[in-house]
Structure formats: C-alpha cells, structure tokens
C-alpha cells in the first residue's frame, strides 16, 4: 500500500491554506502549537492567523465570538488539551449555541507515545459525542483528511476533527468523497472489524493475518463518528458470525460503544467484542507499537484473541 508523503495535519492545513488565500473570513487559531505547513499560513496570511496563547478555555470562547462575528474559525491544538481543558466552553459556547467552529485536535490516542498520559487523547471521542450538535471525524489517511476541509467549510454545526500524527498508508484517492461517513474494505463474511482513525490500518493488517487462517473479514473505516446513520452501518456490517471493534480509546463511550448501541437498538445480537483501552491510564513510554502491545491492541494479540475466541467463553466481564 502506498505511503502518504505528508502528515495528516499538513494535509489539512495545506488544503485550508489554499481556501484561506481566497477567503479572508477563514481564521486559524492556535494555542502556541505549530506545524510545518502552518509556517507558510502564518507568513502569507498573518491577518488570518491568531496565536491565542496556551489558554484553551479562552481559545474556544474567542473562536465562538469570532464565528458569531461572521468568521469561519479553525481552532488547532493537541487533541487531549483542546477537548478536555475547555469542555464547558465547547458545550456552551459552541454546542448550546450551534456555532460552527472546527476544532482540529492533533495527536489522537497514543500518537504522543513517549509523552505519557497527559498527552494521550484516549477519552476524546466519548466526551465529544456526548456534546449535542457536535460532529466528529476521525480519518485514517491524509487524503480523507484533506477532504474534510470542504466538509468543515460547509458545516453549520461545530465539528471536532481528531488527527493522528505522522505519515500513514493511503487508503483513499485525492478528493475522496467523505459524505457517506464510512467505507468498507474486503468482502469476507466470517467476521466484521470496525475501526476508526489510523487503527483502520491495524484492522486491515489483522484481516490479512486472519485470511491466512481462512477467516474471511470485512473492515469498516468509521471516519465519521457523529452523526452516524445506523441503517447504513448495519448494512455495512451485514450478517457476519462475529463483530469486533478496535480503537485506541477508552472502552467507555468510544467506537465500540457506538457500534454496540447501533446493534442493540436494532436487536442485532451477533457475538461482539470491543478491543479498546481498559479502565486505567497507561504509564508506558516508547514506540507506538509498544504502547499498543501493552494494551493488547497490536496485530498479534488481536489475531490470537480472535482465533482462540476465548472472550466468548469468558464473558464480557474480562473485557472491561
């Protein structure tokens, strides 16, 4: 699979830069957080860039105010900080008043793998989906990420875009149409694995391993986590023997919860398991793969777990 030549955030900011050159109402606000692509934005469009200092609460409030004043505002920061530190500002200043500010959170999940739990964004999906009117996108590659610029420019509601760091394999062509909110890889009928963000790549690798054991898989990339269309997702899941979700996110309220809710609401009782982060914070540092291993979210652990099927015998208590 072809590797992307650019970081996801650079894909987004680069695309946005092109639009901002033509529309002075596009404002980019950062809390002292940079990116290579942002340097060009700052140099060429100084009147459209605001360094709002390390003050996330004020960042959201002022962004909301500027949007009320007619600006199309992007707020940019580390994912864990820009969702948790200013949660009430997001609730009231953006969601209660339906102000269409776009929050770009960089460093989803364990992307800041050497920086510890302060920098791990492992609760953001759960918290953001609890917010009324908030839309959530979690793309898996730089092309899907760049496509979100158009979506955000046309949105009339607040939006949270969680981006991973670094370069990842390309799953989509340029200008990929993200309006469906999900896409399906493979047509195996034994199991379905639903993933989001760059864990989609892990899911595809898991699917490839399982095929060696004659287990047919279908992978769903849920790049839009809110709103979701339950009917479409159920159709994409189909009628496999088992359904799995995999995410670098707490097991409480993330992708696994979304899929479980959709299935239960439809009385779809296929054997189901969530691979996610259990109920404690991880004091582990090092490579991303190491952190995933610590959480049994690496390819080998998941494949082994699926093949042995032990979780179905043990019941759900061991999962949480």
């Amino acid at each position: 699979m072809k590797m992307s030549s650019i970081d996801m955030r650079d894909a987004f900011i680069g695309e946005l830069y092109g639009r901002a050159r033509l529309d002075k109402n596009i404002i980019f606000m950062s809390n002292e957080y940079g990116a290579p692509s942002l340097d060009q934005f700052r140099d060429d469009l100084p009147g459209q860039f605001v360094n709002a200092a390390i003050s996330e609460q004020n960042l959201i409030s002022t962004a909301a105010g500027m949007a009320m004043g007619g600006k199309r505002v992007y707020v940019y920061s580390i994912a864990s900080f820009i969702t948790l530190r200013c949660l009430e500002q997001i609730k009231i200043d953006l969601c209660c008043m339906r102000v269409p500010v776009t929050i770009i959170g960089v460093g989803s999940c364990y992307a800041y793998s050497v920086d510890g739990p302060t920098h791990h964004a492992t609760e953001d999906i759960s918290l953001m989906r609890a917010m009324a009117n908030m839309q959530i996108y979690s793309p898996a590659d730089s092309n899907a990420t760049a496509s979100l610029v158009d979506v955000s420019l046309n949105s009339s509601d607040p939006m949270y875009i969680r981006l991973d760091k670094g370069k990842h394999p390309l799953l989509y062509e340029k200008n990929y149409d993200v309006s469906p909110g999900y896409s399906v890889f493979g047509d195996g009928e034994d199991i379905c694995i639903v993933a989001t963000g760059t864990m989609v790549h892990r899911a595809i690798e898991i699917g490839a391993e399982l095929r060696k054991h004659s287990v047919g898989t279908r992978i769903i990339d849920m790049y839009r986590l809110k709103p979701v269309s339950p009917g479409n997702i159920l159709q994409a899941i189909g009628r496999p023997k088992k359904v799995f979700t995999i995410e670098e996110h707490t097991i409480h309220g993330g992708l696994g919860s979304i899929i479980a809710e959709i299935m239960m609401d439809a009385n779809l009782t296929i054997p189901f398991r969530r691979f996610a982060i259990s109920d404690d914070l991880l004091y582990a540092y090092g490579e991303r793969a190491n952190l995933q291993r610590c959480r049994m979210l690496d390819v080998d652990s998941v494949v082994k777990s699926i093949l042995e099927g032990e979780f179905f015998r043990r019941g759900v208590q061991n999962v949480v």
């Binding site: 909301a64 105010g65 500027m66 004043g69 600006k71």
Partner: protein
C-alpha cells in the same frame, strides 16, 4: 415551583443595565435584534437575568407580559438564566467565565472587518475568580481591543460569602491595569456617574480594552436584602416582606427621578 429568580444579584446591576439601554449608550434595534451594526451587550453574570428581562421587555424586545406569564415556568420563554432564543439576548450564559472571551472574539472579528460596533460585557465580581476571565483579559489587551468594555458589578458578595473573606480580588483595579487594561471606577447606582463613564467608553480609542469597576450593593434598594449573602438564590415569598420591598423600591425610584 420556585419562581423568584436571582433578585439580589439583579438589584445590584439593574441600574447599570438601565444606564446602558435607556441612557443612549447602547446602539440597538428592538424591532430587529439581529441588526448587524448593533452594539453587543453580553450578560456574562447570567444570574442577573431578572434585571435583563425587565430591561429588554421595557425596551420592546419582547412583550412585557412574558415577565408575568412566561418566566421560570413550564413552557416558558424566559429561563432561569438567559439564552439565545430570547430576543435581545446575545449569548447563552449562566456558567461563569465565558462572556469576556466571547465578547473578545466578537470584538476581534469586528476589528478585522473595520466594523464600529462596541461590545459591553457585564461580569460579576465573584465571577472574576474564574481563570478563563484572566485568559480573556490577557488576550483582549494583546489584541488591542478598545472596542471592548467590561463592566464589573462589584457588589463584594459571591454566592455564600463576602469576596474578600475567601479570595483576594483587591487591589482589583491594579490587577486589571497589570493585565493591560484601561480602568475606570464609578458608583454603580448613580446614573450620572454611570453615564459619564459609559459615554467616555464610547469614545476612548487607545488600543486598550476598558474595564469599568462599578461599586454596587447586592440587594440594592431593599433594606433587609442589602449586603446579605444569604439572599443570593432566595425568592421573596412572605407577604409582608414583598410589601415592604415594594414600598422601599418605590421610594428609591422617587429619589432617583
């Protein structure tokens, strides 16, 4: 059901609101609340809603009967804190420490577009213990937002105690000065004083946001409610207290005419 509202918090700031809305300060259009050129008034201390509703109704933003029929009740239009669904209310407030940042954002957008409308924000003094107020204060001065006027209802009482018993707002003017703001103080119950400082605020252009520290009395006008922390969230329910409060407020009104 308790329908009292935040009475004492409203009595401390109602003179400020009257000066703004009826003293020729705020440029607003009750028949067109969304008028783009309007000055924005943001009640950051959302617990002054009783005063705001009375003033907006008197100004003609909505029918005065809403106050009697539709305030803090089932199916009401006027909630226990202001929300944007009410004509004339700029932002949903009630959680503290949001208004100054919102107003700073509106002010910066206006500056970028060369628009001349002003933003007035009313904060409670006890609200100023929220860290987000000072984040916004730093932001507004750095951005040179001289189209932003913060008014502080300095009634010296929070929800359960006098502010200086549990925090250190004083020296209050010095703190704002140190954050890069122009500072004016005034008597928040004296219309001449209020109008002088508000008229000044409309013309001041020195690249600094302006804060007006209005010295007020919580529960102003009703002797048994004045300066008494216990009244913060209390409703007037006893007949004799209601009668006395009305008489005393009428006397206030006569003195002020």
């Amino acid at each position: 059901m308790k329908t009292g509202g935040h009475i004492v918090s409203s009595f401390s700031c109602v003179d400020i609101l009257v000066a703004l809305y009826f003293g020729g300060i705020l440029k607003v259009a009750p028949e067109n609340p969304e008028w783009e050129e309007r000055d924005r008034f943001i009640l950051s201390k959302g617990h002054g809603e009783t005063a705001l509703y009375a003033v907006l109704a008197s100004k003609g933003f909505f029918p005065e009967e809403w106050i009697d029929t539709s305030y803090r009740r089932n199916d009401c239009r006027l909630g226990g804190h202001p929300d944007v669904k009410t004509p004339g209310v700029e932002v949903t407030s009630g959680a503290l420490g949001h208004g100054l940042g919102l107003a700073a954002g509106i002010s910066l957008a206006a500056k970028m577009d060369g628009k001349s409308h002003l933003q007035f924000v009313l904060l409670g003094d006890a609200e100023c213990t929220e860290g987000s107020v000072w984040e916004a204060a730093l932001f507004a001065s750095k951005q040179g937002l001289d189209n932003l006027i913060a008014i502080i209802d300095r009634n010296h009482i929070g929800s359960i105690d006098f502010t200086e018993n549990y925090t250190s707002l004083e020296p209050f003017p010095d703190k704002w000065k140190a954050f890069g703001w122009a500072v004016r103080s005034c008597d928040g119950h004296n219309f001449k004083d209020l109008l002088d400082v508000f008229n000044y605020s409309k013309t001041h252009e020195n690249k600094k946001p302006l804060v007006v520290i209005a010295e007020t009395v919580k529960g102003k006008g009703v002797s048994f409610m004045e300066n008494s922390p216990v009244w913060h969230a209390c409703a007037l329910t006893k007949e004799d207290e209601i009668r006395q409060a009305r008489e005393e407020l009428r006397r206030c009104e006569d003195e002020n005419v």
